[in-house]
């Protein structure tokens, strides 16, 4: 091997090690699929049980005559979906890291979580303001956009595909804002189908 080749290979090795050591690689593609399924189940519960098939346009158009508790039931529905999705992702990642004998809690894991949580908390507070103001129509667009920003931000510390998913979520959020009143449909696209699609891609590529 010539000196020149050794130098370029060394540089490549340095770059690869710097990237690998700052990424969380235990993320399971299957957790994307489960998250998508939970999101669709949650949306169905909202539509068929809580809103009782109110009007097309759903979440954002809780009819005036509806029970004042309706929005809290929807909130509870959303929170249960969130807990189920995060719990499953955590369990599957832990299992994957054991199987591959990788460390679960590494500096990369911490960085991933911090970069994910900051935009999510900002979005959560923003959405709380919508709830207080009773402008529920903006909730789903805001959820999709802030979630997309969180993925875009945190994607640097795991598989690069996560960043693309983030961009798609943001775009879905814009469309949800353009077609206000169809929140639940965009929720199903953004949190349901996009997650399932991305989960399958990740699973096939890395498992």
């Amino acid at each position: 091997m010539s000196e020149y080749n050794k130098h370029t290979d060394d540089l490549k090795a340095i770059r690869k090690m710097m990237e690998d050591s700052s990424r969380f690689l235990s993320l399971s593609g299957l957790s994307g699929v489960f998250t998508g399924i939970f999101a669709i189940i949650g949306a169905s519960i909202a539509w068929f049980l809580i809103l009782d098939k109110a009007e097309p346009g759903v979440f954002d158009l809780i009819p005036d005559y509806a029970d004042p508790g309706t929005k809290y039931l929807l909130l509870l529905d959303g929170i249960i979906v969130l807990i189920a999705a995060v719990g499953t992702a955590y369990f599957l990642a832990l299992r994957k890291s054991r199987k591959k004998e990788q460390q679960f809690w590494s500096p990369a894991t911490r960085r991933l979580i911090i970069h994910m949580v900051i935009p999510l908390v900002a979005g959560g507070v923003f959405i709380l303001i919508f709830i207080l103001n009773n402008t529920l129509i903006y909730i789903i667009p805001a959820m999709l956009i802030f979630y997309g920003l969180a993925l875009l931000n945190a994607g640097k510390f795991t598989f690069g595909e996560v960043q693309y998913l983030g961009v798609l979520e943001i775009i879905t959020g814009f469309f949800a804002g353009l077609f206000l009143g169809n929140g639940l449909i965009f929720w199903i696209i953004g949190f349901g189908f996009l997650h399932i699609m991305y989960g399958i891609i990740l699973h096939r590529k890395y498992n």
Binding site: E3, Y4, H7, T8, D10, L11, A13, I14, M17, M18, D20, S21, S22, E101, Q102, Q103, S106, P107, A108
Partner: protein, 98 residues
């Protein structure tokens, strides 16, 4: 050209030691098991490379216990950071000059 070559560090010509230093440059500290995962080397091999880096003042070693298990973490020393950056610059210059 000769000046550039002088900046290359002998210790960092080894791929494993270079890997250890690269990982530690972008992480405040890493423990032994994380390094082992990243580099995919045997215990004996990793330990001897860590020892030589430590001896030459490239690394700072922190030994502690988590419960009953010993846990050793490593971080780059000031000297290690300086030498690594020089080495990296020299590699880049050598490629550019070609």
């Amino acid at each position: 050209m000769r000046n550039i070559l002088k900046k290359l560090d002998k210790l960092l010509e080894n791929r494993i030691r270079l890997g250890i230093m690269s990982a530690l440059m972008v992480n405040t500290s890493l423990d032994y098991n994380t390094l082992k995962d990243l580099l995919d080397v045997t215990d004996g091999n990793l330990a001897s490379h860590l020892k030589s880096l430590e001896k030459n003042d490239f690394l700072q070693v922190h030994k502690q216990f988590i419960g009953r298990k010993p846990n050793t973490t490593y971080s780059v020393s000031r000297n290690g950071r300086k030498v690594f950056n020089q080495h990296l610059q020299a590699l880049e210059q050598l490629i550019k000059n070609k």
